[in-house]
């Protein structure tokens, strides 16, 4: 490994930069001084903790522990999806819809890539499995949250249009189709933009990290392309699934628009 190890002193120097920023913002009365310090401490503690967890996990390479960590990541991402929606489904649906679609899409694509493309031994080797899954979940989370937020909000805003169509004998699919399409589009656009801008505007984080740790640029690029494809497919499938199931759940068995299932 030809990576230059960082010492505690190195990080302290970097921390000084953040401290200067905190002092400056206190002096300018931005009301952010405290927040900057707390955020700095949080990021240090959280990343050190996950570092230890990963260290232990890498040494063990035990499927049970890897699955457990994957589950925790999924649940946190599911909570985040729920929190990012202005209006969301009530009860278990609020958490379950995003979490389930994210689970099916992210896990199946990650496992597929690990088995068919990476082909490590064992296939669930955490050095590959955890970062891949993490990137999948992070991006899928954003896509689903954006799409569901758009879906529930537009159904709420345009309830008159939906009910007018139902009154004219349209079925629920026709009545929600336009809004469902828009929602999927909104969920997918950030990823498509990222693919379009990759390499020109920004160097993707993972690729940069690999290059920093000494991977030849072309190898890093190949991994980045793989990741981009995985994320796009995963976000796309998950977003479509979540929007489809969510749209169906906006109506009951008599095809009535049930906005009482949404909370704001």
């Amino acid at each position: 490994m030809n990576v230059i190890a960082l010492t505690a002193v190195d990080l302290t120097i970097a921390a000084c930069l953040v401290m200067i920023l905190a002092v400056l913002s206190a002096w300018l009365q931005l009301g952010l001084g405290k927040k900057i310090v707390i955020a700095g401490v949080r990021t240090t503690v959280q990343l050190l903790l996950i570092g230890f967890v990963l260290k232990v996990l890498f040494e063990q390479s035990h499927l049970t522990w890897i699955s457990l960590l994957a589950m925790v990541m999924l649940l946190v991402a599911g909570r985040e999806v729920m929190a990012r929606q202005k209006r969301r489904f009530g009860g278990w649906w609020g958490f379950g819809l995003g979490t389930m679609t994210m689970f099916v899409s992210s896990f199946s694509i990650t496992v597929f890539v690990l088995l068919m493309i990476i082909q490590n031994d064992p296939w669930y080797k955490p050095q590959y499995a955890i970062p891949l899954l993490g990137m999948m979940l992070g991006n899928t989370m954003t896509g689903i949250a954006l799409a569901l937020d758009r879906l529930t909000d537009s159904a709420w805003q345009q309830r008159g249009v939906i009910e007018a169509q139902l009154s004219l004998g349209y079925d629920w699919r026709s009545a929600i189709r336009g809004m469902a399409r828009d929602s999927v589009r909104v969920g997918l656009v950030p990823m498509l933009n990222a693919m379009a801008a990759a390499g020109l505007v920004s160097l993707p984080g993972m690729m940069t990290g690999q290059i920093l740790s000494g991977t030849p640029p072309l190898e890093a690029v190949k991994y980045q392309i793989l990741i981009m494809f995985m994320i796009t497919a995963g976000t796309g499938f998950a977003t479509m699934g979540a929007v489809w199931i969510g749209a169906k759940h906006l109506f009951d068995e008599r095809q009535r628009l049930r906005l009482d299932r949404i909370k704001s």
């Binding site: 009910e163 007018a164 139902l166 004219l168």
Partner: protein, 203 residues
């Protein structure tokens, strides 16, 4: 059950949101009016009859229970005209499943109205066009929620004449109206909602 066979639409213990259970039958060729203070549940009752909101009780169309008919088919036969009209395409014509030029002229439009942009139409024009849009589907029952609320006298007359023809051809109408004179002109029977109870008002 005999009586249900004769009536086009009949309500059996239908209740929504605090309104006491309603029993009511409307026969073919009959127009009944509903009135009552705002917030008394008139619009909710109409929405329940179109099966747009959950409700207790059962509604029958020609003796067939609402719950036994697919909702899309039910709503085509029992057509609801909401108080506010909604439009989702750019042009008026795109909202019409088929053309109905005769009725169009009676309401003071000509065929060019299909090309009109919806944003160009006034509230009153939209209200009349929404009625035409619904009549094109040839429903057997009309549920009208203040269909002449924003119309001038001439257009009120035209709408009333059009509905009267619908009734004459064997349709059944439940019409929510606030105007006592209009009720006198169009209603065969008049019901009021007083203290959450639907009561027939003597003519």
């Amino acid at each position: 059950m005999e009586q249900q066979q004769e009536s086009v639409i009949s309500l059996q213990d239908v209740s929504v949101n605090g309104l006491s259970p309603v029993n009511l039958s409307v026969n073919s060729g009959e127009c009944i009016c509903l009135s009552g203070p705002s917030g008394s549940g008139k619009s909710l009752l109409l929405r329940a009859l179109a099966d747009l909101i959950p409700h207790q009780g059962e509604v029958y169309f020609n003796g067939q229970a609402c719950s036994s008919i697919p909702p899309t088919q039910w709503r085509k036969q029992v057509g609801l005209l909401a108080a506010e009209s909604f439009w989702w395409h750019e042009h008026v014509g795109e909202h019409f499943s088929k053309r109905c030029d005769d009725d169009l002229q009676r309401m003071g439009f000509d065929k060019s109205v299909y090309e009109w942009s919806v944003t160009r139409c006034s509230t009153g024009e939209r209200q009349r066009l929404a009625l035409l849009r619904l009549l094109c589907l040839q429903p057997k029952v009309l549920l009208l929620d203040e269909p002449t609320a924003s119309l001038d006298e001439k257009n009120v007359e035209a709408v009333e004449a059009l509905i009267k023809d619908f009734v004459k051809k064997g349709g059944a109408v439940i019409w929510v109206s606030h105007d006592p004179n209009q009720i006198k002109r169009v209603a065969d029977r008049h019901y009021q909602i007083i203290n959450n109870q639907l009561q027939e008002k003597a003519a």
